[in-house]
Amino acid sequence: MSKTIAEINEKLKKGKAVVVTAEEIIELTRKKGIKKVAQEVDVVTTGTFSPMCSSGAYLNVKQPQQKMKMGGGRATLNGVPVYTGFAAADIYIGAAALPDDDPRNAVYPGQFLYGGAQVIEELVAGKKVVLTATAYGTDCYPLKKRETVLTLKELNDAVLFNPRNGYQNYNVAVNLSDKVIYTYMGVLRPRMGNANYCSAGQLSPLLNDPIYRTIGLGTKIFLGGGIGYVCWHGTQHNPSVLRGENKVPRGPAGTLAVIGDLKGMSAQWLRGVSFTGYGTTLAVSIGVPIPILDEEMAAFTSVRDEDLWTKIIDYSHDYPQGTGKILGEVNYAELKSGKMIFKKKEIPTGGLSSYLKAREVAETLKKWLLKGNFLLTEPVAPLPGV
């Protein structure tokens, strides 16, 4: 017995679809079994809210009366350099871009309080941002210098375009050295003083569709509080990671490139964050609806934190020096309990991904689907598979 996306969409339009979150389905499956759940449930919503460094937005700025070609020149938004390799009025602001010579970053470990991610959050929040630009000056674009204040509304286009988001699983980071270290996995205390993880686990989109049966190019998603789409596989997408019997990878594997209209998003769902000693990044919220086409999809979306395993890696030496050494494995139920037992030590765990907010994303997407004005899309092409 199987369903199609078209059938499920018909039910959604009529308000007759059964939609649950990736957490709710766990209890349903425990009570009713996979067969019944596959028949009864139409869509499972997943969610995640986490720092996702490979993020940014491309913007098209209105030309001043005397025209200017930013392409090939230099520009900054609130002092943060933007990419000016695209034509006259298109710029790209990346989350990790930092102002030149910020004194707050000068002394180790560096605060990294302000960068591209903070500019993006401010734009989405409707704040004024200062654009300064210098240009070569051509016959058709004579203006050489420009400084102007703009807001999101005034931009012709503002598109969130993230080359790598929604990592399918990620490492657990520890610090084996004697000194505190400052990493993208957070502040890590010496001698395994803490263990940090970064995944929504059982709510995480790609962990609920581990072999990419339903999530592909063109999948419509909740992105930053608005609508987005999966537009390509993300950079470093690697389907060939070792998988468990449940077909879920036991380390970082698939990724998504996502795109959406920044003007439809909200600052509570796109946050500029600042990692001491590392840099700035954008915390992105993503929610992916998964159609329950058959029993296999019901089983995949019923995955629990205790069935999701990942690798423990030392970030003081092994990660930066690329030794490839894996210290051990742990599952997300143990990580989320707050304590990991490893090498006879009780290690407190810290999360970087907000489970509370992941729940909120999954719940919000569920509401959108139940309202009938968010339909599922058929992927136009699959993600590179196993």
Partner: protein, 135 residues
């Protein structure tokens, strides 16, 4: 290790006393000068942070009081900005008193100010800058 922020007020007669030099050399305290105001023939004011072993800081403060410097503790608190918190739980392993704690069912972080000892460990850890120190 002890860290104490104090406001020192000097009567005009003591303006010449090399207080920070003595605290460092004779009492083995690290000094961080947060603010200094010295005007001729008026009271001088120094806001400093003393950093050292409990014994060193205690003896250093004793020396100051002994020579007639007025010593007042600088009131400070750590504030939790609820609207900025993402409830990621990155701070939880760093808080020594569980002033920052998380409900493992709800996965919601809460801050209890009365438990906070102002160790400041959470400040560099919170990526959302939901923790700030006020004095």
């Amino acid at each position: 290790m002890a860290k104490k922020k104090v406001i020192l007020t000097f009567p005009p007669a003591l303006i010449e006393e090399p207080v920070t030099y003595n605290l460092i050399k004779n009492y083995d305290c690290k000094i961080n000068i947060l603010k200094a105001t010295v005007r001729p023939k008026e009271k001088g004011r120094l806001v400093i942070e003393l950093n050292g072993s409990r014994e060193a800081v205690s003896k250093g403060l004793g020396y100051l009081k002994q020579i007639g410097v007025q010593v007042e503790p600088l009131a400070q608190e750590v504030r939790y900005l609820k609207e900025r918190c993402s409830h990621c739980s990155a701070c939880i392993p760093h808080c020594p008193t569980e002033a920052l704690s998380i409900d493992r069912e709800d996965m919601r972080v809460t801050f209890r100010g009365e438990r906070c000892i102002i160790c400041e460990a959470c400040l560099p850890v919170c990526a959302y800058k939901a923790m700030e120190i006020k004095f």
